[in-house]
């Protein structure tokens, strides 16, 4: 069982519990409609997101990965997103060197009150991934 | 001051009804060492009629001129007319923001507009590029009787997001320039009120009412002359002043000058050179008391001597 081939692509989101996961909840409570591709993995803080999780996902079948945390200065743990920003920026620049379009990985900041912003992030990112198409065209057969 | 060079778009009315605005702009900028290159083969800016019909079309009419500026290898276009200015800025901005719109507009043009031109008003370049200091340096003549109310009109700095110039509610560019050339400026509350603009033909009564208010408020503020930056305002306030008096039962006799004309006078140009004689309301009585600026300076020095400094004690008590 997998995402519905043809209709969806595989998009994984790592969301910090305090801001972005809450922002996604807020969007839901407000019934802000969004594309269905995104699958959310909840982490305490964007600082918990080891760039290698993103690499792992992209190498193993994800077509796009989204990381979202609290806005700078607003981190629940005060510094987590500052580390995330450096490490994820490093990764974003590295990916194209390996032949992976950097647009397939996006990191951003969404607060718990920004439901509308979350809807926009998800919608726009999904749109981009669909424009880029699958990262692993022969995915089904390779495994 | 370094020689400056600008591509210049006079616009239709500055070749006809407001030719004196054109004259005075060229004189003043000339005196300030600015070289004007008239945009060759310039055409209608698209102002009012076009955009009430079709936005794409209106933008195209404006963008044609902007494209010409690019062709001349320039990146700035200046115009005295606020309506032309806002037409250029609106077209540029929307084409920049909305790529589809840009395609649509360019499809109407022989030469596509690449989006590399900033349009500025003559007021803006005098105030920002040349600067108060340089403007003041050139003053030769003092106009002791003149007390002006600067009237900016509705669009030279609004909407702020488009025009990006001065304060949208309380603009000061003209105030500062007038002060710089030694003119008394009155605190005028109607700086940006509506004069009735282009409704002069269709809704004459309304325009008369609105313009009457502007004139009344100017007198209220203690002014004996209005200074404007828009030839349409000028038309409503000067050309129609008798009409206003007739329809509103008022008896205004308030000269209305372009700010460039006032600066021109202080630079020593004659009223004729600046086309002041072309106005409906005669400004001569106000400006005939022209005298060399040195005289004023002397006068002020004497005044200063006259009143002796306050005793130290008082200053302690004051506050």
């Amino acid at each position: 069982m997998s995402y519905l081939a043809g209709k969806e692509l595989r998009i994984i989101g790592f969301l910090c519990n305090w801001c972005s996961y809450g922002g996604a909840d807020t969007a839901g409570v407000a019934r802000f409609k969004q594309p269905t591709d995104l699958r959310i993995i909840r982490v305490p803080c964007s600082g918990r997101v080891n760039p290698l999780f993103v690499v792992k996902a992209l190498l193993n079948g994800a077509d796009g990965v989204l990381v979202s945390g609290c806005h700078p200065r607003d981190c629940h743990y005060s510094e987590g997103n500052f580390y995330a920003r450096r490490r994820l920026e490093m990764l974003k620049r590295l990916l194209p060197f390996l032949g992976i379009d950097e647009r397939r990985f996006h990191y951003t900041w969404v607060s718990a009150s920004e439901g509308a912003r979350w809807q926009k992030v998800v919608t726009d990112f999904t749109k981009i991934i669909h424009e880029l198409g699958p990262l692993h065209p022969k995915k089904e057969s390779t495994e | 001051m370094a020689e400056k060079e600008y591509v210049y778009f006079p616009g239709c009315s500055l070749e006809a009804s407001a030719i004196e605005y054109d004259l005075s702009v060229r004189k003043v900028l000339g005196a300030l060492g600015v070289k004007l290159i008239e945009l060759d083969d310039w055409s209608c800016c698209g102002s009012t009629p076009a955009h009430s019909v079709d936005h794409g079309f209106a933008a195209a009419v404006a963008a044609r001129n902007l494209a010409l500026v690019e062709k001349m290898g320039h990146s700035t276009l200046i115009t005295p007319c606020p309506a032309c200015l806002s037409a250029f800025k609106k077209a540029h901005l929307r084409m920049e923001k909305d790529k589809d719109f840009q395609k649509e507009v360019n499809s109407l043009l022989d030469e596509p507009y690449q989006g590399g031109v900033t349009a500025k008003s003559v007021l803006q370049i005098i105030y920002e590029d040349i600067g108060i200091k340089a403007v003041a340096e050139k003053v030769k003549i003092d106009l002791p009787d003149l007390q002006v109310a600067p009237y900016y009109g509705c669009i030279i700095n609004r909407p702020p997001a488009v025009m990006e110039f001065d304060d949208p509610e309380n603009p000061v560019a003209m105030d500062r320039l007038m002060e710089a050339v030694g003119i008394k400026v009155c605190d005028f509350a109607f700086k940006v009120e509506c004069c009735g603009a282009a409704f002069g033909v269709t809704k004459r009564k309304m325009v008369n009412e609105l313009s009457a208010k502007v004139l009344a408020m100017a007198l209220e503020a203690g002014a004996n002359c209005l200074v404007v930056t828009c030839q349409l305002c000028h038309q409503n306030l000067d050309l129609r002043q008798e009409q206003i008096n007739r329809t509103m039962g008022t008896s205004f006799n308030l000269p209305v000058l372009f700010f460039t004309q006032v600066i021109g006078l202080t630079y020593g140009f004659s009223p004729q050179e600046l086309g002041i004689d072309k106005h409906n309301i005669n400004a001569e009585p106000l400006i005939k008391s022209r005298r060399p600026v040195e005289e004023r300076i002397k006068e002020e020095e004497e005044k200063a001597k006259a009143k002796k400094p306050k005793p130290k004690k008082a200053e302690e008590e004051e506050s």
């Binding site: 760039p51 290698l52 690499v55 792992k56 190498l59 193993n60 700078p72 200065r73 510094e79 500052f82 580390y83 920003r85 450096r86 490490r87 920026e89 490093m90 990764l91 974003k92 620049r93 590295l94 194209p96 060197f97 390996l98 032949g99 992976i100 379009d101 996006h106 990191y107 951003t108 900041w109 926009k120 992030v121 726009d124 990112f125 981009i128 | -």
Partner: protein, 315 residues
């Protein structure tokens, strides 16, 4: 620099330390091998020539007590990086610096003598002379220079307690990351195929990791652990790719560019390339180079509230 001066230096500090790490001839004249000297009489076997390629600093974090070590210019960045990361106590280390303009790539020499046995190897001026059963071949050093020497800026070490020889200036053009920029001219698709091709050859022998002076985890490397279980032992491309990504990301802002990983790779995979790319980006982002200033902080372990060079990404 003469071997005598080096031997003197070693003799001089031997009493103060438990061991001095240097080089001696390996299983044949074409190979040098690390040499642990604890007795004066061993000193005579000490050698110094362009065959002394290994980065001997790699031993330091794992040796207790006081240690002397022979350090080339390039290797000295390792010392500095260890100091940044507090992996060594500098005062416990005696650094014998050796000026050096280039070493040679044994692989390239082997190719030149089409893999004959080297019976004798001698160095004369700008040439290396290799005697094989078939012939005696004179090869210009320049022709067998390893990649890292092409842009070497550290002819004299950054750190040393004794300098065996005169300080000399580097004579190579500065690193401009040419090869990286060139590579980035390729299309995404070409780049991807390139790495798939390269990493597909990987046999996961972990030589690159074991030779790396910055891979301090060594036998606790996540590439082989089940908890955490980042990669399986399956020999498919994805897992190989993943391993090299782990290696590269762990070295982000720490790689001192000593090139050991590439030198030891039995499959000739350009594993240093990715690390170099990261180093290039971090230099641009944070104006940081690993192993230059002992007081720096590795950029991945610190932050600025306002990052001058990192712009928010729009969608």
């Amino acid at each position: 620099m003469s071997i005598e001066r080096l031997r003197e230096a070693v003799k001089k500090i031997l009493p103060e330390v438990d061991v001095v790490i240097g080089y001696r001839q390996g299983f044949d004249p074409l190979h040098a091998t690390p040499y642990f000297i604890s007795q004066p009489e061993q000193v005579d076997q000490l050698i110094w020539n362009p065959l002394c390629v290994q980065n001997l600093c790699s031993y330091l974090p794992f040796l207790k007590g006081k240690v002397g070590v022979i350090v080339k210019g390039c290797d000295s960045r390792t010392i500095v990086q260890y100091m940044q990361e507090k992996l060594i106590e500098r005062e416990k280390i005696k650094v014998i610096g050796v000026p050096c303009l280039q070493v040679i790539s044994v692989k390239k020499v082997m190719a030149k003598i089409d893999y004959q046995v080297a019976e004798e190897v001698a160095f004369e001026g700008e040439n290396v002379i290799v005697k094989t059963p078939k012939e005696t071949k004179t090869i210009p050093l320049a022709e067998v220079m390893p990649r890292k020497c092409l842009t070497c800026q550290l002819a004299t070490p950054l750190q040393y307690d004794i300098l065996a020889g005169e300080a000399i200036q580097a004579n190579k053009p500065a690193e401009a990351f040419e090869e990286i920029k060139e590579f980035e001219q390729l299309s995404l698709e070409e780049r991807r195929r390139y790495w798939e091709r390269e990493f597909d050859r990987c046999i996961r022998c972990y030589a690159c990791r074991n030779a790396c002076p910055m891979c301090i985890c060594q036998d606790r490397c996540v590439a082989e652990s089940r908890d955490p279980h980042w990669t399986s032992q399956r020999a498919n491309l994805t897992e190989k790719f993943m391993f090299h990504m782990i290696h590269s990301v762990h070295l982000a802002g720490r790689c001192v560019g000593c090139g050991e990983c590439e030198r030891v790779c039995p499959m000739d995979i350009p594993v240093a390339k990715i690390k170099k790319k990261i180093s290039m980006d971090l230099k641009e982002l944070f104006d940081y180079q690993a192993g230059i200033n002992p007081d720096d902080l590795p950029p991945m372990y610190t932050f600025k509230v306002e990052e001058a060079k990192i712009k928010e990404h729009e969608l």
